[in-house]
């Protein structure tokens, strides 16, 4: 008789347990705090994330050469891939906590629930990176999504925040419906909710198999929603514009990392026998996503909306990694994994600067609000320039390393047209990122409200800057880490 709950299983989910406990602690601790001491909630959240990260680093060194640990009857996998994704998620959440403390004070929405919800979302994402069973994946996805909906609408008095939350919620719930239907069909085909079993059963089925195509397409449509790929991207610009800026930073990074980890698990571990089919689908979606994301970003005037479209274009590049992976090229997945790490730092860095534009009596989310930043705050302008160069993929920044591996994997597998197209769109991206640079360096100063920087933002900007430059200049250890993370997927 197989014992379902073993001690080792609980040890494997220790980081998640720790983060959950700290999230609950924040909810209690919040009652004890005076209004002006609310920043201490952020401190508790950071300590919790720190414990989680420390535990994960210990797992990383212990996992070594093996295939990883399968707990809870194969529903939960702790391998280097899961640990890698969870570390990025925790670091991204930690950076968002740092960015939030001062911003929430300015917005007058400094409630403890905010940090608790961030941590709960992080727990959902961590399970998403480890789940190898449809049930676990679905619950984890919903835990992440529900927290995101609430956080998007966190500014209850703001019309834009409400509207963004409703749109995000309705489209998100719709996508969950699609995803769930795909999962039910997959279960019907395989007779099990375990990804490894599903993969085996799919391989046994005769070749033209409409039922598994329908299952795959509905499932992938649900995931495309979550990662904001065209044609399921409509929620992105609205949710990004309306959400509190710190949450825009959060939903543009952490859920993307988690959703792509989920995506990799589904495609590589679950739907691997159908790789020819999903490769075709991915090529179409990736090209459409890059086209729309890059072209729509050109005309935006609101900077959060602009970053919404910029995120969509990055998702397009990430999807290209799957095209290479479908040809059995392991580097395709490695490229995605590196890109996610790089993207997390550079995007959060850029949002760190944007968040400073929000001051009393100034919303500061138009591109024009960055005008003349060079004369007002030269340090900020130079930081933003570095992050924008990285987002555009210019060496020696981290963004270049991310794009380089995607292009390399495409060329290795012979997808020359796609590689050329992707490089072409990188040029377009350079153009629209430089619109912000032009505003910062060449336009007149419109306002004189001083920029005040809190301690948290200082640390967050420091970390993102160092990582953006470090990965760009000395990428070897990070590439080695990514290779190590991808290894268990192809055993």
């Amino acid at each position: 008789m197989y014992a379902f709950f073993q001690r080792a299983d609980y040890l494997a989910i220790k980081p998640e347990i720790l983060v959950t406990m700290f999230a609950l602690a924040i909810l209690l601790f919040d009652f004890l705090l005076e209004k002006r001491d609310k920043w201490m909630n952020a401190l508790v959240a950071l300590i919790g994330l720190g414990f989680g990260a420390a535990q994960l680093t210990m797992f990383w060194s212990r996992l070594g050469e093996g295939a990883g640990y399968k707990g809870f009857g194969g529903a939960f996998t702790l391998d280097t891939f899961a640990v890698y994704a969870k570390l990025i998620i925790i670091i991204a959440t930690g950076l968002v906590v740092l960015l939030s403390a001062k911003y929430l004070e300015v917005e007058g929405a400094n409630f403890g629930e905010y940090y608790a919800l961030l941590l709960f979302a992080a727990v959902g994402m961590m399970f998403l990176a480890s789940g190898t069973d449809l049930i676990v994946l679905f619950i984890a996805l919903e835990l992440m999504a529900l927290c995101e909906y609430v956080l998007t609408g966190f500014l209850r008095g703001s019309r834009r925040s409400n509207e963004a939350a409703v749109k995000f919620f309705l489209l998100g719930a719709f996508s969950s419906g699609l995803l769930l239907y795909g999962m039910s069909l997959l279960y019907g085909i395989a007779g099990s909710t375990n990804l490894a079993v599903i993969s085996r059963r799919l391989a046994e089925r005769p070749s033209p198999d409409p039922l598994s195509w329908v299952a795959m397409i509905t499932l992938l449509a649900g995931i495309y929603f979550k990662v904001a790929a065209v044609p399921f991207h409509q929620w992105t610009p609205d949710a990004y514009e309306g959400a509190p800026t710190s949450i825009t930073a959060f939903i543009s990074v952490a859920p993307k990392v988690a959703s792509f980890a989920f995506f990799i698990r589904i495609l590589i571990e679950g739907l691997w026998p159908m790789r020819a089919e999903w490769q075709l689908l991915t090529i179409g979606v990736a090209v459409a996503t890059m086209t729309l994301g890059n072209l729509a970003a050109i005309t935006q005037t609101n900077i959060k909306r602009f970053f919404g479209y910029s995120t969509i274009s990055h998702v397009g590049y990430l999807l290209l990694g799957f095209v290479a992976a479908a040809d059995g090229n392991r580097e395709g997945v490695t490229a995605i994994v590196i890109y996610l790490l790089v993207y997390a730092f550079m995007n959060l860095g850029a949002f760190g600067v944007i968040i400073l534009m929000r001051r009393r009596d100034l919303i500061g989310d138009e591109i024009d609000d960055l005008s003349g930043l060079m004369t007002r705050a030269p340090g900020m302008a130079i930081l933003m320039l570095i992050f924008l160069l990285s987002l555009a993929g210019i060496p020696p920044t981290a963004g270049f390393i991310g794009k380089y591996f995607i292009f390399l994997s495409l060329i290795e597998t012979g997808h020359y047209t796609l590689a050329v197209l992707a490089v072409g769109y990188a040029v377009v991206a350079l153009y629209y990122y430089f619109r912000i640079v032009v505003a910062m360096f060449m336009k007149k100063v419109p306002d004189t409200v001083p920029i005040a920087m809190g301690m948290g933002v200082r640390v967050a900007l420091g970390v993102t800057l160092v990582m953006t430059l470090l990965i760009g200049i000395y990428p070897q250890p990070f590439i080695a880490m990514a290779r190590e993370a991808v290894r268990p997927l192809f055993l």
């Binding site: 449809l134 049930i135 679905f138 619950i139 919903e142 529900l146 909906y149 609430v150 609408g153 209850r156 008095g157 703001s158 019309r159 834009r160 409400n162 509207e163 963004a164 939350a165 409703v166 749109k167 919620f169 309705l170 719930a173 719709f174 969950s176 419906g177 699609l178 769930l180 239907y181 999962m183 039910s184 069909l185 279960y187 019907g188 007779g191 099990s192 909710t193 610009p237 609205d238 514009e241 309306g242 909306r305």
Partner: protein, 100 residues
Amino acid sequence: MIPLSHVLTLSVILFVIGAAGFVLRRNIITVFMCIELMLNAANLAFIAFSRYLGTLDGQLFVFFVIVVAAAEAAVGLAIIIALYRNRETLNIEDLDSMKL
């Protein structure tokens, strides 16, 4: 016993009604109900497969989906109430303060 194909057809019909309602309806609450219909269509498919295959995973999944749907209703209705307080409308067409 009712054959599997009948139940699956019903589930597809429910799913399509839900998806069509999501696209066509203008009232936020109705749209939300259409989403619930889609989730329940998936539940029906799970139960049918579970019965047909003789494994319990599907029925187990349905319980989790019901829990998630309840949580989603709680969060969703809270968000909708916050919206109504600020705007006094539940029509999706009125949600246009952000340009396309």
